[in-house]
């Protein structure tokens, strides 16, 4: 198909779901005003949730979900062998997402609690890049369709990928949202990677960090601010560990030092 008189590359895309809610895949069918153009720009080779076509000759694999069972490891490795470009789509694929929360519990006990005497196979949650190399990560819970469109534009026209070095805070200011801290709430906006358009603070909910860290986030300043506003270590860690993107800074020494100053 030609665009502005030029032949264009129509990437052959396959979408695969692993452990998760499949909400990121659903986003691909959203943004109805550009859905037709989006589908014209790509060739959907395999997308189980919306199509019975099951092609194996794809170039780009979009991976939705985290890896939580041995058969998923094997399936993912097979997909990696075929895909020229493998994209981790959404927070589950990028960080393990909320599924990673289960790693804090004894899985045998978890199995007994849910399934009684008939336990089901499971293993600790992994992000996609803990199993195979990932070419591109698009975090978000769910992923933003705008950002997925930018990824497709990159694949079709070689347009540069958006780079969100700055945090969500900036996008809040751009849409005149009152700061959640000023309303007495905790918010990870100062350290979380932007690109979502900051819908949560505008909707009345401080950021929970689904997109993971911005570039070189100022953790010291953030922990100092959160402490000054009276939030506890547990409250802050509840947020940092929620989507798995801030695993490395949960209960960091930076925070410990900050809170320890309070100790008598």
């Amino acid at each position: 198909m030609k665009h502005l008189g030029m032949e264009q590359n129509r990437p052959r895309i396959a979408v695969f779901d692993f452990t998760g809610c499949e909400g990121c895949e659903l986003q691909l069918a959203n943004k109805e005003e550009t859905l037709g153009a989006f589908l014209n720009a790509i060739e959907v080779v395999s997308f189980r949730e919306v199509s019975s076509d099951r092609g194996d000759d794809y170039d780009v694999a979009l991976i939705d979900g985290a890896i939580t069972r041995p058969d998923e490891v094997e399936r993912l490795k097979t997909i990696r062998q075929q895909a020229k470009i493998l994209v981790a789509m959404g927070s589950c694929a990028c960080f393990g997402g909320v599924n990673r929360l289960k790693n804090a519990y004894d899985l045998d006990e978890a199995n007994r609690e849910v399934y009684g005497d008939l336990p089901k196979e499971t293993m600790p949650t992994m992000a996609v890049d803990e199993v195979v190399p990932v070419d591109l990560k698009v975090p978000g819970c769910p992923v933003s369709k705008d950002e997925m469109e930018r990824v497709v534009q990159h694949l079709v026209w070689d347009l540069p990928l958006p780079s969100y070095a700055y945090p969500v805070c900036l996008e809040c200011k751009q849409r005149y949202t009152v700061c959640r801290f000023d309303l007495g709430e905790l918010c990870l906006g100062p350290i979380t990677r932007a690109g979502c358009g900051a819908p949560c603070p505008a909707g009345g909910l401080g950021c929970w960090g689904c997109r993971g860290p911005a570039e070189s986030p100022n953790y010291d300043e953030f922990f100092a601010l959160a402490k000054e506003k009276g939030f506890t270590e547990q409250e802050i860690n509840d947020r940092l560990s929620f989507f798995g993107g801030f695993q490395d800074v949960v209960s960091t020494t930076a925070f410990q030092e900050n809170t320890n100053e309070d100790q008598p």
Binding site: D17, F18, T19, G20, C21, E22, G23, C24, E25, L26, Q27, A29, N30, E32, E33, L35, G36, L39, N40, V44, F47, R48, E49, V50, S51, S52, D53, R54, T68, R69, E72, G97, V98, N99, L101, K102, Y105, L107, E109, A110, N111, E113, V114, Y115, G116, D117, L118, K120, T122, C141, P142, P199, C200, A202, G203, G204, L205, E235, D238, F242
Partner: protein, 424 residues
């Protein structure tokens, strides 16, 4: 002539999540007819333990990418019932409006993108964009309106942010509400066109008598909270949901199964309609009439039609709610929240059927124990038993593996299963 048939579907397409169909007919006898859920378990009930009440709704919304609003609503309702909170009237209206947005979004997604391709001889709805652009446009406009409704009222289309314990975090501004109302009014014609379109599709003639479970209407067609009712006459308060669900674990499934008066029961649009037909909006009953759909209907394929009837209902009811919200002078949307050691249940009609969240809290407002019973969990046994009856009826001379596979797949899709939800 001896009939031999073999159907083996690994990871059925055009459904949410991972399930398998296995059917074998040997020498005219059904030796196997199975519907099995093989989705990976996520252990949400375990992950909820120790979480603060403010986190429960945000976390459980992630059980499902399609019905995240339903999960969030059931979650905050369970917590509010535990803490003894009555939410402001305006918040209750906003919640119902958000629920309507989700019902319309989920039903249109299912009807056009997941179910319709089978009836039109297509593998997906994507070719409709070129083959029948007017149908693709219809689907895109209705789903677009639904997503817009969710965005304005709940803050986002998937995984809501404004639905919080105590009420709703914000009242949308009146310009946005009036714009939504205008869009709903325009959608009335699109719905009429959809009813006409689906009227041309041939619904398989199959009946297996079963029990239907849903919320019971008090005054309005029910979506959020209230008493529980079955077509076999069982009735319980919301808090006694366990008497209605009776979950048990099976060997081959990562989803649990449920039963009530019989070996299985069904939930969803058809169950709601069978129990509450007279509470539907007049225009929705008219749409039902065009398909000859009236209670009690035991054809599971008619769940598709029941979903379409509900689309008509929720669009008309959304116009009513928006009128009331625009006229209201009391814009208070949040009630004060005081955690206490307690237990509470929230029942909500998710698009695929009745959904329950049940939490026990400690005095600090952290979850001690949680239980979620999912619509598709309740439907899985019914789908399984339907499968055997369907095969029995259709395994006749002239039937092929391909046609039987299509019929079995269409049966499962008619329930619009949300499989990752059912495993959670």
């Amino acid at each position: 002539m001896k009939i031999n048939l073999d159907v083996n579907v690994h990871h059925l397409t055009r459904v949410e999540g991972h399930g398998n169909i296995r059917v074998r007919v040997t020498g005219g006898k059904i030796t196997e007819a199975r519907w099995d859920i093989v989705e990976t378990p996520r252990y949400f009930e375990v992950m909820l333990k120790g979480k603060h009440y403010t986190m429960a709704g945000i976390l459980t919304a992630r059980i499902c990418g399609i019905c995240s609003i339903g999960h969030c609503l059931a979650s905050v309702r369970a917590t509010e019932n535990a803490f003894g909170i009555t939410i402001p009237e305006a918040a209750a209206k906003l919640r119902l409006l958000a629920k309507h947005g989700e019902t319309l979004q989920s039903h249109t997604l299912h009807l056009f993108f997941l179910a319709a391709p089978d009836f039109l001889g297509l593998t997906s709805a994507i070719p409709l964009k070129d083959l029948k652009p007017e149908v693709f446009g219809l689907a895109a406009r209705l789903k677009g309106l639904a997503n817009h409704l969710c965005e304005v009222v709940a803050g986002r289309t998937t995984h809501p942010v404004s639905i919080q314990v105590g009420g709703m975090a914000k009242m949308p501004d009146k310009y946005a509400l009036r714009d939504l109302k205008a869009q709903c009014q325009r959608a009335v014609d699109d719905l009429a066109a959809t009813v006409e379109l689906f009227g041309t599709l041939e619904i398989p003639d199959f009946v297996r008598e079963t029990e239907f479970v849903s919320l019971k209407a008090a005054k309005e067609y029910p979506f959020i909270g209230g008493r529980l009712l079955s077509t076999d006459g069982v009735e319980h308060p919301e808090s006694d949901y366990r008497a209605m669900t009776n979950e048990y674990v099976t060997e081959n499934n990562t989803s649990k199964w449920s039963k009530l008066s019989r070996e299985s029961f069904a939930v969803g649009a058809l169950a709601r309609l069978n129990n509450n037909y007279h509470r539907l909006h007049r225009k929705a009953r008219e749409a039902a009439g065009q398909f000859g759909l009236a209670p009690i209907c035991h054809n599971p394929f008619m769940n598709n039609v029941a979903q379409l009837v509900e689309c008509v209902h929720v669009v008309h009811d959304s116009i009513r709610i928006i009128n009331e919200l625009v006229d209201t002078s009391n814009g208070e949307t949040m009630a004060p929240v005081m955690p206490r050691a307690s237990q509470g249940v929230g029942a909500v009609e998710a698009p695929r059927g009745i959904l329950y969240h049940d939490y026990e809290y400690d005095a600090l407002g952290r979850v001690v124990r949680a239980n979620c019973v999912i619509p598709t969990t309740q439907n899985n046994a019914n789908i399984h038993y339907d499968m055997a009856a369907l095969v029995k009826q259709f395994a006749v001379d002239g039937m092929t593996d391909e046609r039987l596979e299509l019929l079995c797949s269409m049966l499962v899709r008619a329930y619009d299963p949300c499989i990752s939800c059912s495993v959670h």
